[in-house]
């Protein structure tokens, strides 16, 4: 087990430069852009690229949270309705409390997502239930809550001006705000993962929880915090998405589950936890957004889009995401 799988992995400086999955992912992005450019010149225009980055920001924020959970060897399948929850609660609070509501909208949306994450974390850490099944159940519960919330009476579903501004505004040199927010979230994630004790503990728990526990790490706290961050990130993305489309609606988070997990895994993060860096996730997010965009530009019908999408993810994973033959 202890023999290193990649010889370069032993030299820290080289590990970054030669991370195979990172290189492949970034070259795929360039290949896709070049392929798109052959189809239409528009693919290389700054306006198109900025727009793609703006759209990928939403996925990027969700993937940041999903990555924290995947790094500890778990998975968060409650993302779809947590996104919707964040959007719906933010807009509803704005409707209920008028002026103060407008101020409270975004924090309340994010807080609700964090609470879902807290429950997920408690279930996984203390009840020791498989995260896959527990978060799926939470997803169903949150869906039920949202049906109840929007049924019977109709809470406000329009985004506030602040949400709209954060999602589509471009005050600084024409750079979309959403992109700037992703940069901030990404920088925080990188800082958390590489420069803090918490980040070290995340990798330790992902590699072998028993060993981390015996080394004195409060593994349950690490698990709970990762799920809280994932829930908060998903809800925050939901708030921004509501701002982007000017309203919150049922099932708005559904198209984000597979892309978020795929982006993290395509970026070279081990789905069993313990290995992966954020640069890879950035590459994965941009890759997926570009793939979706190109399929949309080519006016591929939904059926073909789903098939190509699944096949491309599988093909890329088969190219570099394979497990080791490990039977010793």
């Amino acid at each position: 087990m202890s023999e290193s799988k990649l010889p370069v992995a032993t030299i820290p400086a080289l590990r970054f430069a030669f991370d195979r999955s990172l290189v492949i992912a970034f070259s795929c992005i360039i290949l896709m852009l070049l392929g798109g450019a052959l189809y239409s010149r528009e693919f290389l225009s700054p306006e198109y690229l900025l727009q793609q980055l703006q759209i990928s920001a939403f996925l990027g924020i969700i993937a940041s949270g999903a990555m924290m959970v995947i790094l500890i060897g778990h998975i968060d399948l409650s993302i779809p309705w947590t996104v919707t929850l964040g959007a719906m609660m933010a807009t509803a609070v704005a409707g209920w409390f008028g002026e103060t509501g407008n101020l409270l909208a975004i924090p309340v949306g994010v807080f609700c997502g964090a609470m879902v994450g807290l429950l997920n974390g408690l279930g996984v850490a203390y009840l020791r239930l498989p995260s896959m099944i527990f978060t799926l159940g939470m997803n169903a519960v949150v869906q039920g809550l949202m049906v109840l919330h929007t049924g019977g009476f109709a809470p406000q579903d329009h985004a506030t001006d602040a949400m709209h501004f954060l999602a589509v505004g471009r005050p600084v040199f024409g750079i979309p705000n959403a992109l700037l927010i992703w940069v901030v979230v990404g920088a925080l994630t990188i800082f958390l993962l590489t420069r803090t004790a918490f980040g070290r503990r995340v990798y330790a728990v992902g590699n072998r929880e028993a060993a981390a526990y015996l080394s004195g790490v409060n593994t349950n706290a690490v698990i709970i915090w990762c799920f809280v961050l994932s829930g908060a990130a998903a809800a925050f993305a939901g708030v921004l998405l509501a701002g982007y489309s000017t309203k919150a609606y049922q099932a708005m988070g559904d198209p984000y589950l597979l892309p978020a997990i795929a982006a993290v895994v395509l970026g070279g993060t081990n789905i069993l936890g313990g290995r992966g860096n954020y640069l890879g996730t950035i590459a994965g997010v941009i890759l997926i957004t570009l793939l979706q965009s190109i399929l949309a530009v080519m006016q591929m019908p939904e059926a073909g889009r789903q098939i190509i999408y699944g096949v491309v993810i599988l093909a890329m994973l088969l190219a570099y995401g394979r497990g080791d033959i490990d039977r010793k």
Binding site: L136, G144, G151, L272, E302, G304, G310, L314, I325
Partner: protein, 326 residues
């Protein structure tokens, strides 16, 4: 005597699921305005058998310590294929059934092949292949519609001798023809061995790869039977992602309620059948007790979460904290 105690202990989850189902079904029937007639039983079993088949399908990968998040999509794919292929004369209908079942098995085999030879994780593999199967289903049937051979459909959703729901007989036949022989075959036992400890199984010469391949292939096959039965019930096909998602989620819950361990190596498809019956009866109870429809999704979600939380009882039995991390 010891043997009996051992057997009861070994099948505790299954017995609990059966008990729970019987209690709930009695409450359901006694509160039903009509009572237990052949028609009520047939309607109930027609619905329950769909989930039971998908839950059986989910059981097999779970036993090998895997998971198949594409069962719902294969179920929907079989539904769409059947609404195109199972038409015409009875003979053509049966040919169509064979093709649909073959397609389901092929979908399962592809899952297994990618997991075994491609060495990818089951979750991410089946999440991605699920997108592909859903795309194919959409391609086959872009909008809801289609038809199905009505003689076969009426027979499969009707009653035998005017009393016994045929769907239940089909389910029993599948248990007798598919599950029991599989359970007692070399590869079936190998699936259990792989689930409890893959490395030990490999070292003991258990055919690990073939066991996994067969488990995923059979899962696809069983999910396709479920899709066929759905077509016989609705007389049409629809590529609906929400339905697929619901069935995938409920199949996992049914597996857990039926006493199968999500950590592999322990449980049975028969438990999953009763787990599915329990879940379906809960839905029917909501109907009988006239719960506000707005509350139903929340109630179902909470019941689901509570059901899967039953697995937490394991924590109480643990003697050494380190066992928690296994």
């Amino acid at each position: 005597m010891n043997d009996l105690r051992h057997r009861i202990h070994h099948n505790g989850g299954l017995l609990a699921a059966i008990g729970l189902f019987i209690v709930m079904f009695i409450i359901y029937v006694s509160n039903h305005p009509v009572g237990l007639t052949a028609a009520v039983a047939t309607t109930a079993s027609n619905k329950a058998v769909l989930l039971a088949l998908v839950a059986m399908a989910q059981t097999l990968p779970v036993l090998t310590r895997g998971l198949d998040l594409s069962v719902g999509m294969v179920f929907i794919l079989a539904n769409c294929l059947a609404s195109v292929l199972v038409v015409g004369t009875i003979g053509e209908g049966f040919l169509g059934i064979a093709i649909v079942l073959g397609a389901g098995a092929l979908a399962g085999f592809i899952n297994g092949a990618i997991i075994v030879w491609g060495r990818l994780q089951p979750i991410i593999t089946t999440l991605a292949t699920g997108a592909v199967y859903y795309g194919i289903a959409l391609y086959v049937r872009p909008g809801p519609g289609g038809d199905v051979q009505s003689d076969i459909a009426d027979f499969a959703t009707g009653q035998l001798f005017g009393v016994i729901p045929t769907a239940l007989v089909v389910l029993l036949a599948i248990v007798l023809i598919v599950w029991l022989p599989y359970r007692n075959s070399v590869l079936g036992r190998a699936a259990y061995a792989v689930g409890s400890n893959e490395q030990a199984a490999y070292m003991s010469g258990v055919p690990v790869q073939r066991a996994k391949l067969l488990a995923y292939t059979l899962a696809g096959f069983l999910a396709a039977i479920g899709g066929l039965m759905l077509t016989f019930n609705t007389y049409s096909g629809e590529a609906s992602a929400p339905i697929a998602g619901t069935y995938t989620l409920n199949s996992i819950a049914a597996v857990v309620i039926g006493g199968t361990s999500l950590f592999g190596g322990w449980g049975s498809a028969i438990g999953s059948i009763f787990g599915a019956f329990v879940l379906r009866t809960i839905e029917d109870l909501l109907f009988v007790f006239d719960l506000d429809p707005l509350w139903q999704p929340l109630f179902q979600g909470v019941v689901l979460l509570a059901a899967v939380s039953l697995g937490a009882l394991r924590v109480l039995r643990i003697r050494n904290r380190l066992e928690l991390f296994a």
